[in-house]
Symmetry: C2
Subunit: 163 residues, 2 copies
């Protein structure tokens, strides 16, 4: 249990993080802003997903997901197929063009991080990622959905649709 002075410092760092995020956004191509990119990333990692699952993983409203997904589908980067098990649902899947796009985005972000974090040790990067993951868990528990349902850390390139 930490003291208020530490919390204050943490809040300051949270606020300062905005600058990092903006710089990440700036390197995104105009036709694939960060919101859409995050959906693409999720599909690349977890395989086929339903809209509602994407919204849950991103911790955003379903309406937000819907917009980003429509954006991606218009450009042919993802495909929305009806779910045979539930006709209300739609299954999202990366297309080959989407995977190419995703790889390209990945190269951009990796290059930027390599530039900026060139003097960070492997351990430091891992530690930051780990603490931020825990932070998200600590915040997510009460907000997202009753079940965080941690996805298996498998190879995820071709995970078959759950269900």
């Amino acid at each position: 249990m930490a003291g208020t002075a530490q919390y204050e410092e943490l809040v300051r760092q949270f606020s300062a993080f905005g600058a990092v995020k903006r710089e990440m956004n700036r390197i995104m191509p105009a036709d694939c802003p960060s919101g859409s990119a995050s959906v693409l990333t999720l599909l690349g990692r977890y395989g086929d997903l339903r809209m509602s699952r994407v919204a849950e993983l991103l911790s955003v409203d379903l309406s937000v997901t819907s917009r980003h997904v429509a954006h991606l589908a218009e450009r042919g980067w993802i495909e929305r197929s009806p779910d045979p098990a539930d006709k209300r649902s739609r299954i999202l899947r990366l297309t080959p063009a989407g995977r190419i796009r995703l790889d390209e985005l990945f190269r951009r972000t990796t290059r930027l991080l390599a530039e900026r974090l060139g003097d960070w040790s492997d351990e430091e990067v891992g530690h930051l990622a780990q603490l931020m993951a825990r932070l998200r868990d600590s915040f997510g528990e009460c907000r997202t959905v009753p079940r965080p349902a941690p996805p298996p850390p498998e190879q995820t390139t071709r995970t078959p649709a759950s269900t």
Copy 2:
């Protein structure tokens, strides 16, 4: 120097951080959204500041700062006095009402963090704050200076003046 797999994981965590930020924003009072609050926080920490200095510390454009500052000044939380040394500048200062407001905001954020991070150790909180501070430094170094794209070294003729 970390590998691309670690960078990929870090990018994912950066994206997930949005959920934390949104929850922090949600607890802000309607008349003092996060953008304005960050200006207030800066003044509480550093004392009197010039507009341009605030913009620099927040890593946002001066026009953005101008809007947030106007918002705060309208509500009597800060005061803009002319800088006697440079009549173009304005010095920002927290008013007593502004300090009260700031304390109240501080209580809100502290309470939220105490709820969410109740099971974090003092050391973990400190470590996260430290790593995020370093992250900001790593990103900030190349950005604070407002010319990412160096203009042509020549300046004898003014090409863009066409109309």
